[in-house]
Structures are given as C-alpha cells and as structure tokens.
Amino acid sequence: DTVRIGITQNNVGIDSYQTTYEQAFIAAADANPDVEVIVLDAGGDVARQISQLQDLIQQQVDAIIVWPTDGQALVPAVRNAHNAGIPVIVTNSNIAEAGMDFIAAFSGPNNVQQGIYSAEMMCEALDGEGQIVQITGMPGYTTAIERQQGFDDRLAEMCPDVVQLDIQPGDWNRERAQRTMETFLTRFDQIDGVYSGDDNMGVGALNAALSAGRAEGIAFIGATNFAVGYDAMARGEYWGSVYQSPVDDAEAALQTALDVLAGEDVPKLNYFDTPKITQENMEEFDRPVF
C-alpha cells in the first residue's frame, strides 16, 4: 500500500538549487508507485513553515520531510510531529541540537564541513599567506551561518597567516555580491582571495574583479557549484568550489524517509558526500544542471 509523505521546503525559487531539488524530489516520488507526496514551500518564513508542519500533522501523513528555514525555531513543531507519532526526516540543513531527539534522521550535506573544505582550498590556493574577503549568504539563515563558521574556524586554525579583511553579506544575490566586491576593490589595494557562500555570488565577485582588471591575482572560492561557476572554472578564472548535487540531496532525503518507514535501522546523521571541486579535478564531475 502507498505511503503519504509530506515535505516542506525552505524557499523554492530563491535559487536553482532548491528548484532542482524540488523537481528531483517529485521525479523520484513519481518513479515510485507506492509513494504519494505532498509538496509545500515555506517561502523562507519560519512561521509559515510551522503552519505547514501543523497542516501536515493534521492531515496525518505517514512521514514528514522538512528543510528547515531555521534549525532552532522548528524544534517545538518537530516535537509536536514526533508526539503525534509521525517520523520527521530533516533534509539539507540540520535542526538544532535540542531537536535531535525528536527527529528520525537527518539527510543532507554538511554545511560546516563545506566551509572547512573551502578554507582548506583557500589555504592551498594562497600557499598559506595573503589577504582575503568573504561574501556571505543572507544574514541570519542557517546555511549561511554554518558555512561561514566552518570556514572561519578552519582558516584560523590551518593558515593563521591568511588575513580576513572583511565579511559582508551578498544575500545569495549575484548583483548584490558584485556591488559588495566592487566596494572591496576600492577599499583594499591588495586582495588575494575571495570566499563566497555560493558560486552564484562568487561569479558576481568575479565579474566585479574582471571589470576592474584585477581578477588575475585573486583566487575565487565558492560553495554549491553552479553551472556558471563550473564554466568559470573551465575558463581558469575560478579556483574552486564544493560540489553538491541537489538531485542526490533530494533522492537521499526520500530514500531515508522510506527506510525509516520500512522500519530499517537508519543512523541519525546521513551526510552525503560533497567533494571539493577545483580546476584540476573538474573533469571528474558533470556540469551542474543549474
């Protein structure tokens, strides 16, 4: 018999990753005749996501997959679902420590780890010395915070001689990132590296540097490899990024949910691999579809 799974996503349409994720998720569900899915989107608003969780609980679905808009704020709502006997699978970015008892499993990339990877690539690119700037995602959102955290901590530890000149948000927006980078370029005569919270912003920063004729000496490192980032890497303008496939992400989430429902012994944390991608090893990867 069929199982009904409800999913509430963070903010579909804000970037291609989330959209591709949704499409892959629906495709995977359609491919499985025993699964019926209810697909909801919180539009980036925690309160709306909580309402959606309430609505799903009220419809008595068999399992809930949630892509948290905020790992902290969802704990009580997840607890409600848990208390109602509905297993909750968290996808993509994890819920806060306090909520771990109430979820069946987490499936997704490790954003802190991604930050660490990026820091390592930065150290490598700069040979452990230089001045960099960082452009983060939308302030206050978990993914942005975790990546920054991983990056900052690892950078300080691994190559203390790399100086971070400033950190400003790019709001996951390429044009905004481009503007921020332009100001950085005016402000600092010497910039050796740029870390951006995703490739979309990274390419914005690259655009700014290209227009200023200063792209040559700068190592651009991003996260969530986008097609534009991949292409820039192929042209030799972009140093490296973290490869993360929304299709893997979505399929892993659905599979985890099915495993949980099948009563299998699923580990709490299921990270799927998000390897470093650089100019050297990029042939090993397909060009991202987004």
Partner: protein, 329 residues
Amino acid sequence: MSNLTDITPLRWLMRNPIWGFVVIVFIFFSLMSDHFFDYRNFQNILVQASTIGLIALGMTLVMINGNIDLSVGATLALAAAFAVDVQSWAMFATWGSWQILPAVSLALLVGIALGAFNGFIVWKTGVDAFIVTLGAMLGIRGLVFVYTGESSFYAMNFAYSDFSALSVGPFPVLALIFLFCTLIVHLLLSRSVHGRNTYAVGGNREAAVNAGIRVGPHMMINFMIIGFLAALSGVLLSTQMGAATPNLGRDYELWVITAVVLGGTKLTGGKGDIVGTLGGVLAIGILRNGMNLMQVPAFYVYVILGSILIAVLILDKRFNRATDGGLRL
C-alpha cells in the same frame, strides 16, 4: 455605528464584501479538500491567523488614524528575541519557569517603546508615518541583528514552547488570546472616547485639532498599541517555535496591510472597523491553509494571492461606489 436598525444582512454583506469572500472560500475548500472541514484544522487556521491578526488589529487603529506602520515585522522579531533571550539571563537563573515573566514583560515593553518612538517622531517632526516607519523597518531589523548577533536564540525551558500547545476546552490558548484582543480592540474602537477620536483624527485631522483633540499624543498612543500588539504577536510566535530568529516577520507588514485593507479600512483614514479586519485576516488564513491542503504549487500561490487581492478590491469598488455623486471624474 449609526442607524444600526435599517441594516439588512444583505446590505451588511455588500458593505463588507470580505465576509462574503470568507464564506465562499470556506465552502470552496470544504468541497475541494478532505482535510479542510475538520475542527482541528479550524484550530490550526485560527492559531496561524493569530500572528498576522494581532498586528492587524493595531494596524486598523493606525490606519484609521490616517497613518501606517511598516516597522511591525521588525518589532515582532526584536520582541521575540527579547522574550526568548531574557529567560536565560543569569539574574533569573533561579526563578524556574517564572523567568518567563520578566522576559515576556520586557519584550512587550520593547514593543511599546518602539511604537512610542515611531509615534513621537511622527508627531514632532510631522514627517509622514509611511516614511518614518519605512526607515524604522530597516533600522529595527538592524537592532535585531545587533542584539542577536545574527544567530537564533532558543528557549532552554520547554515550558515556554508548551504554552503554545495549551488549550482551554476545544480552543487553543493562542487563538483565545487573539480573539480576546480582537474583542478588546473592537470595543476600544467602537465604544471608547479614544476610539471615536481615532476616527475623528483620521477623518479630518484639522477638525480634530480645532476640536481640541491632542492629535500628536493621540497618534502616539495608537502607535504604542500597535507596538504592543506586534510584540505580543512576536512573543506568541516565539512560544510556537521555542526560539527567535533574526529574520522573523519579514514581509509581515505587507500581509498585515493587505488583511486590513481587504477588511475595508481606508488607507486615507477615517474609515474601517475590527469586524472587517477580522474578515480580512481570516480570508488570508483560510486561503493559505486551503492552498497548503490542496497542494497548490508554490509558484501559483503567489499568482493566486496577488490576483485575489486585486479581485476583492474590484468587488469592493463595485459595491461601495465612491461618493462622487455620479460625476465622471
């Protein structure tokens, strides 16, 4: 207010087309979704609507005054942050669950203070409220980020988030608080001197000044009320989350204004009531909930909400023809 006697239900509905709309979407979703017509779902709708609803009560006052407040979303976020954070201050460590009390009180005070500040600026500078609160919307959000240091706060004490799950009989506490506030603000607006002066100030500010109403302090009080209600809404929202996030309440001002205008309050002031606002809040709540239950794809939700907003405006225009006496203007 006046001539209550000669109002037939039909005429009442013509003047409040939003309630007709509420009935229509209610019937529509009842037919279209198996899960809609269910008393637990009604509880959900009320709880979900209460967040926007509480602020909308205050916005009704402010808009009847001829002002507007765009900073409510940010105020909500700051109040939520205080409500959650203050609980964990060391000085209340020994208070047990009583630590919630100073936290919530402080959060509400912060809301009132921000409202007072907005009101004071509007009063003293004479700058349009739209502008003052547009600035405040940015600035208060900045304060939120300064205060939270970008990250979320969460309540150690589960008693706090359990509060939101309480119910009295079949009614969830959150819904009761909302309905209680609705009643109070309704009485305030329709029965009290302050409420009647609210109409006077919005309907003809000069006349209100001439009649000796102290327009400045009066407006400031209404800004304090909306500050209080936004903060209350933030506190209640944070009990649902057991946490406070810095981006809480983004875009809420637009939804609140939408609900209030759908409820028949005029942006130019002087006209509107709480009954209409309640209708507007429920209309949005039911639409949101029903579309979730029917799984309308996210992209279409935007189009549907936008179109309905405009459609209701057209209906309202049809029923309540502007009073230009048939002149072709």
